[in-house]
Symmetry: C2
Subunit: 336 residues, 2 copies
């Protein structure tokens, strides 16, 4: 401590995790590089590398490794599970960008733009299959159940998001189901499977699940808020993407619920009918602020963050626990 | 026998399998209906039912059940594995139709045409995830390894097909890799996993793998031949689909290999450059016949069929063995 406190205070929690887990993450990255290779189809590592080496934070694999290490696991199978969740995540991103017709991801052109939709669909399928090969190798059936259930929840959430996209009747309950599918299911599967592979007691496994679930929901609400407030330079995607894709995200759901006739007609036109004119995004952002929808969604994100931090109480006293606590704070810190 | 010989001789082998395995297949269909449901996203069972209830022959799940029963298995887990391979197959079809921009499948409009590409991509992902949930339930790690390896081979073959599609340098060796990914990997995983779940001796498990592999290759070469010769009414897809998609299928690969300068220029234009004019399909079909490419590809299909039948020798003497023998004959019978 002492002299280190200065620099450490400035270090972000995911950077602290990356430092602490540096050896694990080096092994994870080596395994990812090994398993994304294809002897016959060079398109596969090209597309995968474009996305996987674009400077993502490796948050999901770090959650697996952090949970396993925090529960005293000495290895080696957490490395396979960490690579598994990164492959599932990457496959999901490839398919998301096709479905959303996105053009930028992590500040770079998307794979569907650089190659084509076909490559993104098929390379995504390849990474899903590789993920399942990887998760089979540790030979732990409970972990297989957790991760295959998460994959189904993710896919179901994506379909739900697609069909709810233009539906102004979408409730906060449905929103939460979508968010669990979109983000929280893989976060909670990462932390829970880390605890299971470590042989942690049941109450700790449950706490790890709750932490991942609440962290994922806080993270996603924050992401949705930033889509109406951040800049492309900061978050690596374009402000208003969700608006243009007519997604019913939490701020919009809250604003619609409290809208008068004129505002409701506006949301009906731009979201339900998809008739968007220049200036509509600015007008939407104005409504989201004046209605209090942004502030209330922000409060929800903070509450989920607090729930994630509270879950950590039953876990062993360990530097990694402090970093996970800091991470749950950090995902909403950018909102304050 | 006796009086039954007449009608039995007219019965097709997959119909004989369906009769013999009727109880198993009823259980498989019930499990499929149960697992394709989604509480929150009705789009999922809609899209799935459109494809899965369109009168497919359920060939792959029947191969699982036939292999398991032939090796004396009394159940119940072959039902889960059978539903697994049907889900993987259905997911693959959904994504294939997006990638190939197909408009008809099994004589009906494709899901991507009736709904949209997004639904096909995401519902396909859901079925992949459901397949992995199903295959985990029997708790057999060797079966998990076989099926997850098959999923990776399938996806790799699809990417290879995409990148080889317009490449006249594609060899018969690469073609075989593509076909293994496209068809034979799931056939051989179906028969092999049926044998493994039944606890069959190693030589029988190997024979079941070889049977499925060779059957799948014979089936796919026949399918490629019919694409240049069948009618939409007979095979439920449009003649010339592969030609329009500029796929290097076996007849084309053989024709290109023996083409003179003028014919090579033709293939270069229609396949490599994709500049296709009215009448080109007829001209291509003429070249495929006069070069002997069709006849030679037909001979290859017959040889793979014979290899599949020969593999059955080490398996128990059982009515199902005769039906599998008949099936290997039947897939190439339509070519003679």
């Amino acid at each position: 401590m002492g002299l280190d406190e200065g620099p450490n205070r400035a270090q972000k929690p995911h950077e602290a995790l990356a430092d602490w887990l540096a050896d694990d993450m080096q092994a994870v990255n080596a395994l990812i590089r090994d398993r994304m290779a294809s002897e016959h189809a060079p398109r596969i590592p090209q597309v995968t590398a474009h996305l996987i080496e674009a400077g993502g934070k490796r948050l999901r694999p770090m959650l697996v490794a952090a949970a396993a290490r925090l529960c005293g696991y000495a290895g080696p199978w957490h490395v396979h599970l960490a690579a598994t969740v990164e492959f599932i995540h990457t496959a999901t991103l490839l398919h998301d960008d096709v479905v959303d017709e996105s053009q930028r991801r992590r500040g770079r052109p998307t794979a569907n733009l650089l190659w084509d939709n076909k490559s993104s669909v098929l390379v995504g399928d390849y990474l899903f299959a590789r993920a399942f090969q990887l998760m089979v190798e540790p030979g732990n059936l409970r972990v297989l159940s957790i991760l295959s259930n998460a994959a189904a929840t993710i896919a179901e959430g994506e379909v739900l998001q697609l069909t709810a996209a233009q539906d102004l009747r979408t409730t906060e309950e449905v929103y939460l189901q979508i968010v669990r599918g979109k983000t929280a299911a893989l976060f909670s599967a990462a932390t829970e499977s880390g605890g299971v592979i470590a042989g942690a007691p049941e109450d700790q496994v449950r706490a790890l699940f709750t932490y991942g679930d609440a962290l994922g929901i806080a993270f996603q609400i924050a992401d949705d808020l930033l889509d109406y407030g951040g800049s492309a330079a900061v978050i690596g995607k374009n402000t208003g993407d969700d608006f243009r894709e007519r997604k019913l995200t939490l701020p919009v759901i809250k604003a619609v619920a409290r809208a008068g006739d004129a505002d409701r007609a506006f949301w009906q036109r731009v979201i339900a009918r998809g008739d968007q004119q220049p200036g509509d995004l600015d007008h939407a952002m104005g409504l989201l602020t004046t209605s209090g929808a942004m502030a209330d969604a922000r409060a929800d994100a903070l509450a989920w963050s607090a729930r994630a931090r509270a879950a950590l109480a039953v876990l062993p006293d360990h530097p990694l626990r402090g970093m996970l606590d800091g991470l749950a704070d950090y995902v909403v810190e950018r909102l304050v």
